[in-house]
């Protein structure tokens, strides 16, 4: 799904940079060897070759079930084998509906039928290959044929429904029309359904990724008038993967839920449309003029609608058979620690041609695999086992990776050290989300890769970007903190992992450490995201001309893989994790305080009849629903766990720095294996509440109401946000349990090293 590519400079700048203070993880001898090997590795990375791979892989539509998607898997398999890898295709049988009929008409005040197809654009030969394309649709919406008045719901997020309520507009029995953005796609129809809507239309507003941002493709990179965004609307916050096999692999003979039993399937029909079509619908609506933050970029006045003035007819019928997902699994066995796995993956399925998303990341992974194969030809072998993974069926909702992880869960928990993910790539700044024990490690890698546009390291460029962003008027507190870290020579925080790509089941279901890596912030593929215009032509002209950053990505993730594969000692620095979790706890406490103060402030206004008195009687129907009184929470278990974690982390880091190099090979190997397990301490049964037990990580999760966006300390944070006070209490305990288990594991490591130094 490639969200990392869409990160702005602001986000990109908040990522890790060159670390100046570091534990001496590699001995001088090892470091020299490693540096030489990386230098050799780099010589095998070829932008021209990646260009050719993309041209071929993105030549035809490659969605799940398409012939070209299967061909790409087979081609990837053949290449991995030719490069010396032990590779095979592992198949899963997954539910994946494809559209049989999609139709959307404006039926009043005048007739208009939405186009729902993306016509070719001049100068882009790929876009003319329309035959195998699927029309406008989203995956896992309901079948239906409905006619109803339409209501504009802005981004369709919870606050938007509160605003609608104050305007006296109800979506019950109506079709909502929401714009893309500000929250994950799938939440829009889910919330619409929860509020009683019978259908949902999602459009791409030109203000968000169309002509307001840049010239429309093909003149510029932005979304053209007939481009729309496909995607999945499965209820990912419950669980990703095959809707019919929650928590276990969708192998051929696995038991399956009936379709009606699957909790992640939406019931109402949903279609994505272009702004070319959307203007006809929004332009026909009446009712209240929208509030300022609901305005978009079309040359019309946006109205809320909901009246009988504008009605739409929406039809979706899908073909619901199981389809085969083809994961390519390639291994190179470790010479010293074959049961310690370093994993690396990128998906190969796209929504149409998928040049930027996902092929631009896939070709970097291929370049690494080829280069590692070349190293292997010289007789070299990795110390640990490398597992390269070309996933299928990521787009519908991480089906390929989730089913594979669920199938191999026990082995992965035993052997997995880390999973390094990419999902497309762009131009600009390195962005890394991941487990914070790896923050220092990422900083070191970023110091050793050269940025092609400036000639300095990608870490130094990140640092420069962070300083500039933090000094910009109006910069957020977070940006200012990141800028200060950059200026002070400290590591800059990694961002936490949310969802939207194949790392999810590793880190959030099993607890195996993960990272998501990509370059972005300059140029952008946002305007063609999940459309038929995400082509080789678009990518090579606007996103990564000359495939310069494809090479940089391969060098970055290649180094990550090879350093963890070859290290003698753990690359983690646990003080970073402890400090980060500490800031998360501060945030949660502030959240509770702010929410409490907001309730008190609102109660004062209500007592003074302030809403009625200040409201424009021509605009508003009544005061807002009173907020719930927010109790004080017992955060002591978390406070105590953090004190312990900080102490254990400090002891571990100090002891490793002092004693690490002198340890026996056996102990070193055990320490690295233990470090793989330590991260898994974050997972606690029964996982998150509210039917979200698949998510077991108490530190990192995608948000129930943010979708891809991460929520840290999710059990506690979301309980407070959603006003589930009992859950807050319960999850303070469960989260403290996870943190204590993590500290236990660190203490075990210190014991392995023969006790604390000094």
């Amino acid at each position: 799904m490639g969200p990392i590519m869409r990160k702005s400079l602001l986000l990109a700048a908040s990522l890790a940079v060159l670390a100046l203070s570091a534990a001496p993880v590699l001995s001088q001898q090892t470091a020299t060897t490693q540096a030489d090997m990386e230098k050799t590795f780099d010589t095998f990375i070829s932008s021209a070759e990646m260009d050719g791979w993309m041209k071929k892989m993105a030549a035809e539509p490659n969605h799940v079930g398409s012939p070209h998607d299967k061909a790409n898997a087979e081609d990837t398999l053949a290449r991995f084998k030719a490069w010396g890898w032990d590779a095979h295709i592992e198949e899963f049988q997954v539910l994946y509906p494809t559209p049989l009929k999609v139709q959307l008409d404006l039926v009043s005040p005048k007739k208009f039928s939405a186009t729902l197809t993306e016509k070719p654009v001049p100068g882009d030969a790929t876009s003319s290959r329309t035959k195998a394309q699927l029309p406008a649709y989203v995956a896992f919406q309901g079948d239906g044929d409905v006619t109803a008045p339409i209501v504009y719901v802005n981004y369709g997020m919870p606050d938007d429904y509160k605003a609608l309520e104050r305007m006296g507009v109800d979506v019950k029995g109506k079709i909502v029309i929401a714009r893309y953005g500000q929250g994950w796609r799938g939440l829009k129809p889910k919330l619409a359904q929860d509020h009683g809507a019978v259908g949902c239309i999602i459009f791409s507003d030109p203000r968000d990724d169309g002509y307001s941002v840049d010239d429309a493709y093909p003149k510029g990179a932005s979304r053209p008038a007939q481009g729309f965004q496909r995607g999945s609307v499965a209820d990912m916050p419950l669980y990703p993967g095959d809707p019919l096999t929650p928590g276990y692999g969708a192998t051929k003979d696995a038991p399956r839920l009936k379709r009606e039993e699957a909790q992640t399937l939406l019931k109402i029909p949903v279609l994505p449309i272009s702004y070319g079509d959307a203007e006809k619908f929004l332009g026909a609506m009446e009712g209240n003029v929208v509030p300022p933050n609901w305005r978009g970029g079309m040359p019309i006045t946006y109205h809320v609608g909901g009246t009988d003035a504008a009605k739409a007819h929406l039809v979706v019928k899908s073909e619901w058979s199981l389809k085969t997902a083809y994961n390519v699994v390639a291994k190179m066995e470790g010479s010293q620690y074959p049961d310690q796995w370093v994993m690396r993956g990128n998906h190969h399925d796209g929504w149409v041609f998928g040049a930027s998303d996902p092929i631009s990341g896939h070709i970097a992974m291929m370049a690494e695999a080829k280069a590692i194969g070349e190293l292997a030809k010289t007789g070299w072998r990795p110390k640990r086992t490398l597992v390269y993974l070309s996933w299928d069926a990521e787009e519908p909702m991480l089906l390929g990776s989730t089913e594979w992880v669920e199938t191999h869960a026990a082995e992965l928990k035993q052997k997995g050290l880390i999973y390094i993910n990419t999902d497309g790539n762009g131009r600009g700044f390195l962005g890394v989300d991941g487990n914070h024990a790896f923050q220092n490690f990422v900083g070191k890698v970023s110091a050793d890769v050269t940025d092609p546009q400036t000639g300095v390291s990608v870490g130094q460029r990140q640092r420069a970007g962070a300083m500039v962003v933090g000094a910009t008027p109006g910069a957020s507190e977070r940006s200012k903190a990141v800028a200060k870290a950059a200026a002070d020579g400290k590591d800059i925080p990694l961002d936490p992992l949310g969802s939207g790509s194949d790392y999810s089941s590793f880190v959030q279901h099993l607890g195996v450490a993960a990272m998501n890596v990509g370059y972005g912030g300059e140029g952008d593929s946002g305007g063609v995201y999940h459309s038929a215009y995400d082509t080789y032509e678009h990518h090579s002209k606007f996103v990564d001309p000359g495939f310069a950053y494809a090479a940089v990505l391969a060098k970055t993730t290649g180094r990550m893989v090879l350093r963890i594969s070859e290290t003698d000692l753990p690359v983690q620095r646990y003080g970073d994790f402890a400090d980060t979790v500490s800031t998360y706890l501060d945030e949660v406490k502030t959240l509770a305080t702010n929410k409490r103060e907001a309730q008190v402030a609102q109660a004062k206004i209500i007592a003074a009849d302030g809403f009625r008195l200040s409201d424009d009687p021509k605009q508003t129907s009544g005061p807002p629903t009173p907020l719930k009184v927010v109790p004080f929470f017992n955060f002591a278990p978390l406070d105590n766990a953090l004190v312990r974690l900080k102490a254990s982390a400090a002891t571990y880091d100090k002891t490793l720095a002092a004693k690490g190099a002198g340890l026996s090979a056996d102990v070193k190997g055990k320490l690295v294996a233990l470090a793989g397990k330590t991260e898994q301490a974050m997972t606690v049964e029964p996982g998150l509440p509210g039917g979200r037990g698949w998510y077991k990580n108490m530190i990192y999760a995608p948000g129930r109401f943010t979708g891809y966006g991460a929520k840290t300390l999710p059990g506690v944070r979301e309980a407070i946000e959603d006003e589930r006070w009992n859950d807050a209490e319960t999850y303070v305990g469960l989260t403290a349990k996870a943190i204590n288990a993590y500290a236990d594991s660190l203490d075990q490591g210190v014991a392995l090293m023969g006790g604390p130094s000094k």
Copy 2:
């Protein structure tokens, strides 16, 4: 010019509300009499009558020099006389250019001629009276005939030119095209001229007051595609009024500068255009795609231009003769204190029909004058002299009021207690800008006028609005502070007076206290501001249906006039002024600190080559100009003056509360007269630096680079902003001198009362 009507709820909510703690200014006896009189006064206010007056006054174009403008003055004169006032017309001969030829063409890449006229809209009979209308123009721009490439400069403010520089775009020899907003109109061509541009086009972007905001007129209140905003571009920050007679009255025989000598006349040609026309020009431009905060609401990608791709031909030729301005001056002599004047004004000239701006305020003033006349018919006489002023030639740059004030400066400084201004009116919340010694007085008035939409006092409604705005997520620190004041039952700060209406010469040139009063924040006339669609039809449908708020305004300003006219003791509370100036000094110190820190942060980035390294090489031409090192300033003279002011104010307020009622009638009268003089202590020679010596008030001024927007402690604040370190030092001294003189005057008052109480 009516800026107060355009205040959002956010601004409106920051104004004074019901004061709960107050010095007992009126004795019980007087209060009862006063309340009875006000009740009687209210019975003479008729919405229906005001409706009729507007219909007549706004029936034909009424710009300076038009027959209908003169007829309105004569009609107003006749009415005042009929209502029992001693009225006359006082004429001035002012420079006021009117367009002989205006022309704007796109000459490449294709030909297009801007319409520059506002065609009638259906359902608005007034808009069809196009005969006497002037075409698109702004007042006091230069004559010229230029052809050049066009450059889009966003809002055309100083920061925009810095951004252009970083993009490598120069406006020298080019025609700039700027959108209205974010800074006063006249600054746009002035800054363009200063940067070497040969012409300037200003357009109304639909995102700011067109279809993005509301349906276009006549369906809704917003600016239609062919509507444009006229206005003055005289260099008002130097001095307002007739450009040829700076500092003295433009009487018939006054000496006059030659046109070439007048500092406030622009040299380059300027035209305002509609978004219907602007889209043709902006759509034709090439060059960089604009940064996000430069995007507007037209359905095109905005480019910076500056290349030869798009060229325009701009012609302006004006007729430069003197025109007659007709001020109506109406007096009702005071029975007890004829030499103490309470002044009240609103202008009568508009840009076209001027229904909202200015007639909607003018009719309220007329209603007051009529009601006072009715009171007078019963034998009642005001204790102090009332002076009602119907100004001409406000729109070109406060010509009528400035020339009158300059002509009568000595008498006004002697007799003037206060000038109360209105300049149009809308629906919603009371908004008052003014001298802060009147904050408590305004709060009391607002507690005694009933809001027609809610039935509570306009003060209580203000308070409710302030609380709601302050509790809104993302509220500014200022809004939060205002909300807290509202919730705590304290007076809410008045906003300081900037410029843009006829109070300017009173408060900023003479130092006579002033207020600007209006209702707004619900519905809006912004979309037809200074256009041919500001008509009776538009105003009565969208701005103030039923003229309910015209009546409320008359009751509000009528009370202000009558309470100051009839009071025994000063209505001022000086602690409010002292506290307010103290917060202004805090702001100025913070400004210096922030500016210093910004320079230090930027220097660090430059030292790290951070701008070059973080810039997108495809977007940016080079690093920004280094900021100047900011020295530390000696604020001690201001700190000391404020300590003194606070002490003197506290003593005065306390003594007045304790002893006031028991003073002799003679002393009471002298105290009120002295209070009129006290405000004048804010003026100090030689006034503001940089050719702005006309502005003599050291506390309140319009900003050099904000135009209408106020700068408080302007001598110091703007010196720091503009990096004139020596001026900062000098004006700390001059401002302290003003504050000390103010404190002297308060001490004199205490002495008059026989020394401090207790």
